[in-house]
């Protein structure tokens, strides 16, 4: 189980190679990589151009929250391993922001835990994005869709 919060880029291929090596009691690995898009909002056609973004975070609380999220995932699914890497600082379009991965004997658990990790992280880990656009900087608003995605898991627990 690994948590990394870092300014520098990561190599998703190398991370996956390391994460998946030497596993003989694992049926599946699910991995998600989140990237910086070059437009604002949900629609590439209507979204304003984004030249990059800067991710601010709350050092200390970030690691603490990510560890809590990972511990919760391990409680809910029979995981072999989990990995969370989240960057902060200035990021250009196409750059990687986040990687989450989960491995389990069963693919259902790998998929669900991976999605849980990214859904919860998006609403519980203290990161904030400011987008750099030709019109100036704009703090990204929290998305209702992210709250909805995360609250699915609250219901699943109850």
């Amino acid at each position: 189980m690994t948590i990394r919060v870092q300014r520098e880029d990561f190599d998703p291929g190398a991370e996956l190679a390391r994460f998946s090596s030497g596993k003989t009691n694992v049926g599946g690995i699910c991995l998600f990589v989140g990237l910086v898009r070059d437009y604002m909002g949900h629609d590439p056609a209507s979204g304003a151009q984004v030249n990059g973004m800067t991710l601010e975070h709350y050092p200390g609380m970030t690691e603490r929250q990510l560890e809590a999220i990972e511990a919760e995932a391990r409680k809910r699914w029979p995981l072999d391993d989990a990995l969370v890497i989240h960057r902060y600082g200035r990021l250009e379009p196409g750059e990687r922001i986040v990687l989450v991965a989960a491995s389990s004997a069963h693919r259902d658990a790998a998929f669900e835990a991976c999605r849980f990790l990214i859904d919860w992280l998006k609403t519980k880990a203290p990161f904030w994005k400011v987008e750099h656009t030709p019109q100036g900087d704009a703090w990204v608003d929290a998305k209702e869709s992210d709250d909805a995605a995360a609250s699915r898991w609250d219901q699943a627990k109850a």
Partner: protein, 83 residues
């Protein structure tokens, strides 16, 4: 008591971190906010719309009713947008 501001709350207060000594009787986040609002126009602006503000006490999420005491680390920030 250490108070931290992130994202646009940092921009509005002009402060990332400050050490403050709230008056006796400041027992909750809500009472702390009332004290902080009076410190500067920037603070007042930062706390103008409390529905847009989130709080963590000692790095755990809280709310206006969460107890605070001397020595705590209290952080104010907008809803998170990572991932």
């Amino acid at each position: 008591m250490k108070v931290l501001y992130f994202a646009w709350l940092k921009a509005k207060t002009g402060i990332g971190e400050e050490d403050i000594a709230p008056p006796d009787g400041t027992a909750t986040v809500g009472q702390l906010v009332e004290f902080l609002k009076a410190r500067s126009p920037g603070h007042a602006a930062a706390f103008e719309t409390m529905s847009a503000v989130r709080v963590a006490v000692n790095q755990d999420f809280g709310n206006l009713d969460t107890p605070v005491k001397v020595g705590d680390e209290v952080a104010f920030f907008p809803p998170v947008t990572g991932g």
